[in-house]
């Protein structure tokens, strides 16, 4: 239990009369790749924002990396990486400048920044583009760069909010290679996605419908439980049950 990267209990967020996230309870183990699925507006992003300390919950409890999300958000922020739906590197800075900036504000030393930059550029094969403005890169490259910068400071947990939206299948595959590499190093991955093939890559999956977690298991467990041939069928059964 104590080794869990994320623990929530009845975590709820209301905006006025609307309950975006309704008493969700789940645990994510250290080093796990946890898929967070749900239709648009099911409350995934809201839940993720609460866990990252961007949003104050209305009620319920949660701990991220062992820290309370009400009172210890700054400690949490040191230990997590985050990649939002929106692309959030600076388009008017070069690849290298972006790496340097984010490394700097996470408190890496100049030598660390230099070394990490070299590794990162080599891994993404972006050495030639190091001095190019980020705005000139294709979307898939931007997303890989964005992920690599989100894990630059060796966080113990990374939150990825639809990281591969609009990215071609080959690049998505390469993106997931990056995710696996991080998970192998013991980083917990918390990822939302709409691609059901990606859901299969996860260790465990939760499916949210109308702010509630309707199902939570391994991909094969879920398929067995819903007697479905693919994750797509599981998802449709759950999402349709709603209407």
């Amino acid at each position: 239990m104590n080794n869990n990267a994320i623990v929530t209990k009845d975590l709820t967020k209301r905006f006025g009369d609307f309950t975006a996230t309704n008493a969700i309870t789940f645990e994510v183990g250290q080093g796990e790749i946890f898929g967070f699925l749900g239709a648009n507006g099911a409350g995934k992003t809201t839940a993720m924002r609460m866990l990252c300390g961007l949003l104050k919950p209305s009620s319920g409890e949660a701990k991220v990396a062992g820290y309370d999300i009400y009172t210890q958000t700054e400690q949490i922020k040191k230990r997590i990486g985050y990649m939002s739906q929106k692309f959030s590197l600076y388009e008017d800075l070069t690849v290298k400048e972006n790496i340097r900036f984010y490394g700097g504000i996470y408190g890496l030393s100049n030598r660390q920044i230099k070394e990490k930059t070299r590794q990162l550029l080599a891994r993404l094969q972006l050495e030639k583009e190091a001095g190019h403005l980020v705005s000139s890169l294709p979307l898939g490259w931007k997303q890989k760069l964005s992920f690599s910068i989100a894990v630059l400071h060796d966080p113990s947990i990374v939150f990825l909010d639809e990281p591969t939206g609009g990215v071609d299948p080959i690049t998505r595959r390469q993106f997931w290679d990056l995710i696996y590499e991080s998970a192998d190093k013991g980083v917990t991955i918390f990822v939302t996605t709409h691609y059901m093939d990606e859901a299969e890559y996860c260790n465990r999956i939760s499916i949210m419908v109308d702010g509630k977690i309707k199902a939570l298991d391994t991909p094969s467990g879920l398929k067995k439980q819903y007697n479905a041939g693919s994750m797509n069928d599981v998802f449709l059964q759950l999402a349709r049950a709603k209407s």
Binding site: R49, G53, L54, I80, K86, F101
Partner: protein
């Protein structure tokens, strides 16, 4: 501290990579100074005048020539009737009309008294006042000369009158540019301070990078310092640049120690940056931020004493200007540059400015949230 360094490095890279930024920094001050200093001028010249000369004598011609030779008036038309002149006034062709009545010359000689009529277009009240004043002075002067020279009256016979002699202190030539240029410099640093800083933060909200920053352990105070310091530096640079242009082009007097101007500007900019920051905390888009900033600035600038003296505002409006930072800076920069005021004269205003700065920035920092 290292965090601030990385933030500053990023901001300066972005600012100078922005194509519109360098023109803003170097072109705007030059254009503002060169255009506004000449345009925002209270001295009125070339008022167009209609002279309706119903007398047609030598003296009435003399009066007309004296008016047009003064440089303040240029002859528009010489209509035959008052009605025709009135049409010129209505169409806007003439600013004022002088009616010299029939028998002007005869009455002057016989009755030693004559009346001329002056019709002034008073849509622009202060212009009308000045026009009537200039014309009155010139006619009065003409009157005296006529009495002395032409009617051969002795000084003794002339009714006694006071002669007031003027001496204009601090701006002996009444050069409006000396008065306006420091004020325009204030507007310049105000724009840089309030607009650019606020819009810069809101821009990060618009493109979404603010969320990425908010999940980092960056401290609020570091983030804000990193955002405001570049514009503080740029605005002070602008002031130096503007003063240099003012000195070279207008030979702007700098009677006092210019260091006081910079010291005051440093405090004043904290106020303006605080305003921009506060507005950025309550707006989501650059458009909103711009409109709200503009709302405040237009009031601040029009009520700053830059264009119209604060003393001529109603008492309630004068009270409002006590909360107008622009009014303080306009006053102080003129005091230092034209009058040579020093520490003793400006320390009170500096204190007020620091008070504003602490209050505004305090509210802004308190209101800034790392959550959405």
């Amino acid at each position: 501290m290292r965090t601030i360094f990385f933030l500053l490095q990023k901001e300066f890279l972005q600012i100078f990579r922005n194509r519109s930024m360098l023109p803003i920094i170097f072109l705007v001050p030059v254009v503002q100074l060169l255009v506004l200093a000449f345009a925002a001028n209270y001295e009125i010249k070339n008022l167009s005048i209609d002279v309706v000369d119903q007398d047609g004598g030598a003296w009435s011609r003399q009066l007309r020539d004296k008016l047009t030779a003064s440089g303040y008036f240029s002859l528009y038309k010489q209509p035959a009737s008052t009605e025709a002149a009135f049409e010129d006034l209505e169409s806007g062709g003439a600013d004022l009309v002088l009616v010299i009545p029939r028998h002007f010359e005869r009455d002057l000689v016989r009755h030693n008294e004559v009346k001329v009529q002056l019709l002034v277009n008073a849509i622009n009240g202060s212009k009308a006042g000045l026009a009537a004043g200039y014309a009155g002075n010139i006619i009065g002067d003409f009157n005296r000369r006529v009495r002395l020279e032409w009617l051969a009256l002795d000084e003794d016979d002339a009714p006694s009158h006071f002669d007031v002699s003027y001496r204009y202190w601090y701006n002996p030539d009444m050069n409006y540019k000396f008065f306006m240029v420091p004020g325009i410099l204030v507007v310049l640093v105000t724009m840089i301070g309030a607009f650019l800083s606020g819009m810069n933060i809101v821009k990060e909200k618009e493109i979404g990078t603010i969320e990425q920053l908010n999940v980092t352990p960056i401290k609020k105070i570091h983030f804000i310092t990193g955002k405001l310091l570049p514009f503080w530096i740029i605005a002070l640079f602008e002031l130096a640049f503007g003063l240099t242009v003012g000195k070279l082009v207008f030979d702007l007097p700098m009677v006092g120690n210019i260091g006081w101007v910079f010291l005051f500007a440093a405090a004043y900019l904290l106020v303006m940056l605080g305003l921009g920051l506060l507005i950025s905390t309550i707006t989501e888009t650059q458009q909103q931020s711009m409109f709200i900033t503009w709302f405040f600035l237009i009031i601040f600038i029009l009520m700053s004493g830059l264009f119209t003296p604060i003393e001529s505002m109603p008492v309630w409006a004068q009270k409002i200007t006590l909360f107008n930072p622009v009014a303080y800076f306009v006053k102080v920069i003129r005091m230092v540059m034209l009058k040579g005021s020093g520490w003793g004269d400006i320390s009170y205003y500096l204190g007020v400015m620091l008070l504003f700065a602490v209050a505004l920035n305090g509210i802004a920092v308190w209101n800034y949230r790392k959550t959405v």
